[in-house]
Symmetry: C3
Subunit: 343 residues, 3 copies
């Protein structure tokens, strides 16, 4: 169970309450209804769960762990009910991970802390600070900044002049944010840098000239940005990130990039300048997108791929240079056969 | 036009003044001379420009946008004059991007701010601080540091004992700089770490021993370093970065690396220890160079390549492991043919 | 020799003392015993060493530099004794780099500084601070934190509530550490972020839900972590890093990752969630490991590889997708032959 030094369990739930919260159906391997009044106190992984914990089976790699689990209850898809251990209460749902997330959030809600503006913060008199805002020690809030209600700004984070952040924004420690207009409920983890100059240099007769970067960073609602990620501001057009887009750690987003809604970007991806990423796109870890490209809506790019051409809507690409995923798989097969012949 | 909350336009220019500033020749699609006294107030992208704005066409991908643009004037290469829309004033130049940069810098010059050393900065008494230096709140300037005239040090940035930075250096917020001797006019963006220990470990009978890192980081004039980039100091020899070299975000530069003048390094590249990179080299995004290699003067390495061997002067390499670019392209063609046969 | 502005030489050693410290055998190219009373004042690279310096030959790439070196003495493997220049004192050892590290550490020991807790640090009253701890200006030590004896915490570093760090830990400037239990003698370089939320999102009928991250980061003894690296805490299980493991700069370690003892991870690697890395594994630069994999004990992964499958104990893999290294090399050979045929 979570370490109580770091996490604070808000109390138990009955099995019926958990089923009701998640829309899951109660059963057991044998098909009998389990006792809905049975009380559960925590979530846990299949390996670590005990009789009072609720586990989840989302990835078939863990079917063995499921079969051996001591979890008292478990979220599971209908097709795996028959693989459950004897006596385990089953919460059947098409989305076990989603149900787990809902339940874990109920056991461990965000802690309400008393909003406070640290006397060691530096807040410009011209800044507009919403209701119930928290500003940690050393944070610097520039001229004409606007922070919405319930925002929280981490220690030593620097918010540049004119930046606007919507309600319920949480910016971690050690961030810098400049030249940016940000929507509601953003979560920015630690050490993120938003709004610096893009990499714009013009080689010419008088040497390499720095090109003024005159655009902004526009970020929608419900966006999350991982630690160490850098988002450059636009060169003239803006850099744009859509609603509900989630970005992992150490990602690079170049100037003028436009990212749609509901995009998932795994760690260490790099998106070069002026490239457009459609809504619902998923990028695996360490993917690189060259500049001035378009990755169509709903496309998926396999980890470590290098995309050098436009990707049509809904396609899955892999490899470096990236090609349709079936061609990438075939090239692995062909190469394996050629190697075999040489032996 | 740039958001006036973030950018400050210094006033209009006549078409003749712009032509004179950039060395461009004035014409129109039809060959008539446009009115040199016509006044322009801003730069803008081809899509966003209006009749009082100056655009630029540098990348053929944007020829359609050029043909449809409402820009009053545009920098363009001679061969695309015939593709211009009716009535657009054309500023013909072989280097449209360079001309744009010059013009944008005239409309949006660096703002002169009053130099000030924050009372919340911590400056060692033994430090030598040049004329008109700005030091932001929380910056720490160590013993015997030397900062040249007109330097600016960002909030919470830590400059270690003995570091020297030349005139007009700008170090962003949240940086650390130690064991370094830096030339004039450096621009270091936010969250950059310069001078930490290289990754030096000696496995041996007594376990893994940490190898003392006894070199420095030497950086020339007119260098720019992007956010989140890490430059380790030398292990004994120094880590060296030449004049006019520009480094993008989240780049890793290992100990003892020697980089020449006028090198361009895109985001997320990694250069392993003791590798030498000649003058004028260009590295695409996410390139990795193995250790103890030499990349010759003027070489170009395609994005995401992994260089495992020396690269001769002036060559272009691609792939992982990287090979001459013509071989890399051929291997894509060969593979495509093999896949086709299988179908 | 190291720049005395940054490094402090603690005094000379006789050749016999150096041999005794490192277990090396004294000889010369001709086989005569050199004068053991000869005094040496420094270590240096083969190119830079003079007659009073001790060099080392560890990489055969530097055999020419060795043959031309002016170093008065040099650590060298037995098989290269005959390649030494006339008159050079030879310190023969199977591990020249290890011997160099020992000797360099003797010339340049860690400087003892007076432990001091800065009045500009913010230390919770409930924190337990060991003997002889140093806390730099602006560091924030949270509630119930425990810092072992002789720990040092860098400027502006934020240690979150409940974190425990063992004796002799050194955390650089600009780090954040939360939800972590850390062993003895850890070295964390600058700008490292440990303990933030992993990238856990559950797509479902109500949109993308953030999954509470309820695990910790557990780090063993004698670990070193490079600048800019991010280590996410577990989602439920913990993220675990074993003893003596060394991690370079800008590495991403996802939630629930388990890394064994004596693992070496080069710069810019990314390890996806729930993957297990066995003891003694070596990862080259920019390697990516997909999630939920197992990389067996002692395995080696070539730089830039993308590992999509389990790797057995002791194997060497390369390529993206990664395959056994012999297959990767063969595929390069096969491709080169196919290209040749096309010419």
């Amino acid at each position: 169970m979570p370490d109580s030094r770091f996490f604070h369990n808000s109390g138990s739930l009955t099995l019926s309450a958990i089923a009701s919260l998640t829309g899951a159906t109660l059963t057991t391997r044998g098909g009998q209804a389990p006792d809905g009044e049975r009380v559960f106190g925590d979530v846990a992984s299949l390996e670590q769960a005990g009789k009072d914990d609720v586990g989840f089976l989302d990835n078939v790699k863990y079917l063995d762990a499921f079969a051996k689990s001591k979890a008292g209850a478990c979220f599971v898809r209908p097709q795996y009910v028959s693989r459950a251990p004897e006596g385990m209460a089953l919460l059947v749902t098409p989305e076990p991970y989603f149900a787990h997330a809902l339940t874990a959030s109920r056991f461990y809600p965000e802690r309400e802390t008393q909003p406070v503006i640290s006397p060691q913060a530096i807040v410009a008199a011209s800044a507009t600070i919403g209701k119930d805002v928290t500003i940690a020690p050393g944070a610097i809030i520039g001229e004409n900044v606007s922070l919405g209600a319930h925002c929280s700004i981490g220690a030593y984070t620097v918010i540049g002049d004119g930046v606007m952040i919507g309600d319920h924004g949480r910016i971690g420690a050690h961030c810098t944010v400049s030249h940016a207009i940000i929507g509601q409920r953003i979560i920015v983890h630690r050490g993120v840098h938003i709004g610096q100059d893009g990499f714009g240099f013009a080689p010419g007769p008088q040497g390499i000239l720095k090109v003024p970067q005159l655009g902004r960073v526009l970020i929608g609602d419900d966006v999350e940005i991982g630690s160490g990620t850098c988002i450059d501001r636009g060169a003239g057009p803006d850099t744009v990130i859509g609603n509900h887009t989630k970005i992992d750690n150490l990602v690079q987003i170049g100037h003028n990039v436009r990212i749609g809604n509901y995009v998932l970007i795994a760690a260490q991806c790099g998106i070069s300048g002026s490239t457009q990423v459609g809504g619902g796109v998923m990028l695996g870890g360490q993917v690189g997108l060259a500049g001035h490209l378009s990755v169509g809506k709903g496309a998926k790019i396999a980890a470590q791929s290098g995309v050098m051409t436009d990707v049509p809507d809904g396609e899955t690409y892999g490899g470096s240079p990236a090609v349709p995923i079936r061609d990438w798989h075939r090239s692995s097969v062909v190469m394996a056969q050629l190697i075999k012949k040489k032996e």
